[in-house]
Symmetry: C2
Subunit: 314 residues, 2 copies
């Protein structure tokens, strides 16, 4: 295919496309609201059923999408075996923003930490500086047992820096900040525990700025609907956006956390049963592989097993 | 991660999981209905805006998902430049099945065929033989200009076989069938025109069988809801399913058509603007590449160009 012969400059205005995209986004938000309403009870029903399946969520994470490739280190895996339950809630619904959600992790007694529940909230915020948005989160305190901190002090350090910033030292180069920065630099990716995920903070967009941005957005929307010109601040945005994220990521030991959180909320959570059945099929297939290596082993074991799910054609 | 120490056989019944999956599927269908209702007017509005953009759909297909990799041959590309408009409709809504849809292709005058509109319907059907479903379609007649048939007679042959089957010769090994089978075998994948897509028929599931299957499904649903045992015909299904698709694919020159149709309906159609903007960015980037090779060319052209879309963080 080649359309290069006559390369058109865009013959419709960006305003028209922006308005259209905005319309579609509003519909998407509405659909998430409807979906939340229609599935709420089903997820509670599911929770009861999978409570009887040992290591359900651990198996699900074994076949999770690529966002979780290499995410779990060996000791993380031991800890994940103690994961009893996981629950995603769009806590701001029915009236608030469908883009905010929380992920609640319930653990059995385990050798690593004292907590039985770790809940992390991801709050959707958009900046007044252009078309920039992100998930903002408070770092979650993990009560590690002595000598068992898989994050090697990273989660506690982030909490310390966070507390300092809240106490008005956001622009100060404190000792804790220096230590955190050095620890981040010194930690090889291969040694970074998944549980550092709980320390994620995201871009520093305050609730105030978010509300101001929503207001600005709504004003633009009204201007567009009235056919009036809308001021285009696309150029300055780029720098501000980079700045916003760079500043946050300087003290962020686990910058992939928001993408992984979205992956849990949008893929793993709704598809959990399918993923679990897939993990069981994978186990059966690898058992067959083992069998090939050792033909003397009895076959009854495998004959009982049967592919759990059937892929539909459409 | 390793949960292999104690591999559990499934401690909950397949019935429970099947019921749950069925519940979620019903919600998905309902969501498609709501989505259709909420987006209907927006797609009409979009159609009007993109009508002013030359080669819009051609550009979209240039960055289409992997389902369309290698789908378009060089001459297909020439023909695609004449593609004026594309429209997806879930024609069975609001009251019917949201899984059925049609794709309407509108063409300008072109050297290849006389048609200005080619519309292909994909009808969701499920079989009574187990958990098997698919998209069924009638082959679409393309009025090729003399010597211009890009499919080398394949679309016409499928139409002939289809007409014979309708005339009661479904189990006969006719000359047309033999010829079609041989032509399919003799056509290298690299020579197969995308326009053979219009000949796709899918599994031979009649409307009658589909309705019977829906009835059976509803009966099972009621039994499950009443807590009664549901007959499990999982074993026999496997063979029947293979049989159903093998039989159809024997005379199917373009078996990927249903996956591509789904890709259009679920990805390309809703994301068309994003894909178009992405194709324009790609063009700009490749212009920069050209520029690197030839530093003497004037730069004004590129300075005007600016990335069209901004990827949001969340």
């Amino acid at each position: 295919m080649s359309a290069d012969e006559e390369k058109p400059s865009l013959p419709v205005s960006f305003e028209q496309l922006a308005e259209l995209e905005d319309d579609f986004e509003q519909v998407d938000l509405e659909l998430t609201r409807v979906q939340d309403k229609l599935t709420k009870d089903l997820y509670v029903k599911r929770e009861k059923i999978i409570a009887d399946i040992p290591h359900f969520w651990n198996s699900v994470f074994e076949v999770a999408p690529e966002e979780f490739e290499h995410a779990f280190k060996e000791t993380d895996g031991e800890l994940l075996l103690a994961l009893k339950n996981l629950f995603v809630t769009r806590f701001d619904l029915p009236n608030g923003d469908p883009r905010s959600f929380s992920i609640k992790w319930e653990f059995e007694e385990n050798p690593f930490f004292e907590d039985s529940v770790l809940e992390k909230k991801f709050i959707y915020r958009q900046s007044t500086k252009g078309d920039v948005s992100g998930l903002v989160s408070e770092p979650v305190k993990i009560h590690w047992k002595p000598g068992k901190d898989l994050t090697n002090g990273l989660t506690d350090l982030v909490l310390k820096v966070h507390a300092e910033e809240k106490a008005g030292k956001a622009d100060e180069e404190t000792d804790a900040k220096k230590e955190l920065k050095k620890k981040i630099e010194d930690t090889p990716l291969g040694d970074l525990s998944f549980f550092t995920w709980f320390a994620f903070r995201g871009p520093r967009i305050t609730e105030e700025e978010h509300k101001e941005s929503l207001k600005k957005e709504e004003e633009k929307r009204q201007l567009r609907k009235a056919g009036k010109p809308v001021e285009d601040d696309e150029m300055e945005e780029d720098e501000d956006e980079d700045d916003l994220f760079d500043k946050a990521y300087e003290y962020e030991p686990y910058p992939a956390a928001d993408d992984q959180a979205l992956c849990i909320a949008e893929d793993i959570w709704p598809d959990a049963i399918k993923l679990y059945l897939q993990s069981q099929e994978d186990d059966i297939l690898s058992e067959f592989d083992d069998l090939d290596d050792d033909e003397d082993e009895e076959m009854e074991e495998d004959d009982k097993a049967e592919p759990a799910s059937k892929k539909r054609k459409a």
